[in-house]
Amino acid sequence: MMTQTQKLTYAFFAQTVLLLMLYAVAALFGAAKFLSPSDPLALSLPYHQVGGLANVLLHLAALTGLLGGGLYVATGARGAGQIKYITILQYGFWLWTALLVLAFGAGVFGLLEGRHLLELPRLLDVYQLIVLFALVISITTNALRSPIIRVWSIGMALAVVGVLAGLVQPADYVADRVWRVLAVGLQFNVAYPLAALALGFWLVRRFSSVPRVWTDTGVYTVGGLLAIAGVLVTLPPLFRLGAAEISITLGSMAMVAVPLLYLIVTSHGYGALSERAQSHSLAAHWFALSLLLLLIGVGLLGGLGASVDVGQWTTGTRLTDLQTTLTLLGVAAMGLGVVNQGASDLYGQQRRINGLTPFWLVAFGVVIGALALGGAGIAQVYMERVLSIGYLDVQTLVTPLYALWTLGLLLLAAGIGVYALTFWLRRPRVS
């Protein structure tokens, strides 16, 4: 019989999977619009609505996965412990559910705010801020002594700060861009990777035979490196918005330091993978995929784009899109790893809840999509930005790459679909 906390944890897991499914569908809709100018839904369901909805869904999926994972980790073995402030958690969960429904409705009915990657209407952002804060507090106070929860909670606290930064309403548009860079950068480059890697270190204890002291100290080391790397990716773009010239220096440092820092983080993770222990889940696989996506998203693309000399050519191209998408997918993959492990524990039969098929479909889908979108981005940089060929002409020329990108999203959607199906079929029976 599941405890109340376990039921709530499982509910968060289910929401994560559902949101990812919805994201995959919305992303496919959006990608299809790039394939041909003759889009029958161009006017009734324009891209800014579909793209905005996809961004919101992926963002909330990553965040929900982090919340569910944090809750599961904070409640001890098999999540069997009882949360101290269970009432706050229960109310928080229902309020979070309401937020997800409202956000989805806002996206479907075209009520999103016109700020790229900060699409939630301000009222919902305030609502999100309060509920997120309450949930993080109720989870953190349950396991304050755990290094993993400490790092996780700092990541989530920075996410709260990021939402707060996005709520600032400056008097002019340039200042608004500064706050947007800070809000998005803090959330995507620092907060989410930090919280995700903390959960990753918990997963390491499940699939690896590394000693506990390795994870308890490693999470701090990795967390510190991630924080520095995330800030180095976030700050240099402020130079063009009027920041001091030190941001140019930071950008040059970022080009070398950020990929290196993320390589160190990744090698830490792969070191744990090389000491595999018996495991009844595929947590190791999702952990490895998450590390790879974060390495490419934040480490490589973020680091290169942070250089002011490189960024002036690449900003606003498909490479920027690829960076944010891979980062969020990396965080979501870690969430799926925790779901995979946690749901398997809750199922209670020492067996996987889903096999390798959904994993490989998602992995191949993301890799194919990333290669295609990366190719389109590089082509866009050289043709549109360097050779000054018209934007519309370049988009026509790279259509085959968009077709490949759509194929990748199809595989991703199929993988998430199979994952969701087996997650549902092997749900814990509540007695």
Binding site: P37, A42, L43, Y47, H48, Q49, G51, G52, G110, L112, E113, G114, H116, E119, V151, I154, A171, Y173, V174, A175, R177, R180, V181, L182, L186, T217, Y220, T221, G223, G224, A227, I228, G230, V231, L235, L238, R240, L241, G242, A243, A244, L250, Q312, W313, G316, R318, D321, M383, E384, R385, V386, S388, I389, G390, Y391, L392, D393, Q395, T396, L397
Partner: protein, 248 residues
């Protein structure tokens, strides 16, 4: 405090210090006029950033608009805004948002303001065009439309008159006394021969295509695209002139 925990704490503090130090310098005010501020509200409400970028920030479904006001001018933008689907046939369609005149005015004031601010100076390193700029562009669009370019030079000129990258028909009518944006081109050959002393009709027409600001017909705005000399190949310009020279 253990060594790794101390390391983590130091990294967080250093990160926070960097954020404060760097972003403080970017928090200078950039005053906006009332119209530009209201235009910003319109920009947000219509979700323009979902498709377009400004200063490279935004969606990737449509071109960057940082310098669009300076490049295209208000007259062109008004015509485009009224009927966006007519300007790039065979390309992605922008919805017509049905804004009021004052909302449109404010939006243009906002776009003008954006292009005048510091972040727009020196960025992008090279101009970002909406279309054209390459010899590849004309045949790509022509084949995408499934229509063959005519063999006859006059027919070819008429073909380019009505299609990208020139789309002269957007602003110039071939009907007598019908004004869209620029003057009607009915009878252009006769008028062009007498416009500038010592300049032939053909030279006048060629100069008007490549350097449109040199001779502006009184009563009309100086709103013609400046980049047709780069967008069109020499042969395309010759064909256009051949066609226009038949309009006596």
């Amino acid at each position: 405090m253990s060594g790794t925990r101390l390391f983590f704490t130091i990294c967080l503090l250093v990160s926070a210090a960097l954020v404060v130090a760097v972003s403080a310098g970017a928090m200078r005010p950039h005053p906006m006029s009332t119209e530009a501020a209201q235009g910003w509200d319109v920009w947000r409400a219509t979700g323009c950033e979902g498709c377009h970028t400004l200063y490279g920030q935004g969606g990737s479904y449509a071109p960057d608009l940082t310098h669009i006001f300076a490049v295209r001018g208000e007259v062109y933008l008004r015509e485009f805004w009224a009927n966006p689907g007519a300007f790039h046939p065979g390309q992605r369609i922008m919805p017509a948002f049905g804004l009021t005149k004052s909302e449109t005015d404010n939006l243009f004031a906002f776009l003008k303001w954006v292009g005048e601010q510091e972040p727009a100076q020196g960025w992008p390193p090279r101009p970002i065009r909406v279309n054209g700029g390459s010899p590849l562009s004309a045949p790509i669009v022509a084949s995408a439309g499934g229509q063959d370019v005519p063999a006859d030079p006059v027919a070819r000129g008429e073909y380019y008159f009505k299609r990208p990258p020139a789309i002269c028909s957007t602003c110039h009518s071939l009907e007598l006394d019908v004004v869209i944006v620029g003057p009607s081109l009915a009878g252009i050959t006769t008028r062009a021969a007498t416009r500038v002393l010592g300049m032939s009709a053909e030279s006048y027409i060629r100069d008007s295509i490549i350097h449109p600001g040199d001779f502006v017909v009184p009563g009309f705005p100086d709103a013609m695209q400046r980049n047709l000399g780069d967008t069109l190949s020499g042969d395309q310009i010759n064909d256009l002139i051949t066609f226009l020279m038949t309009l006596e």
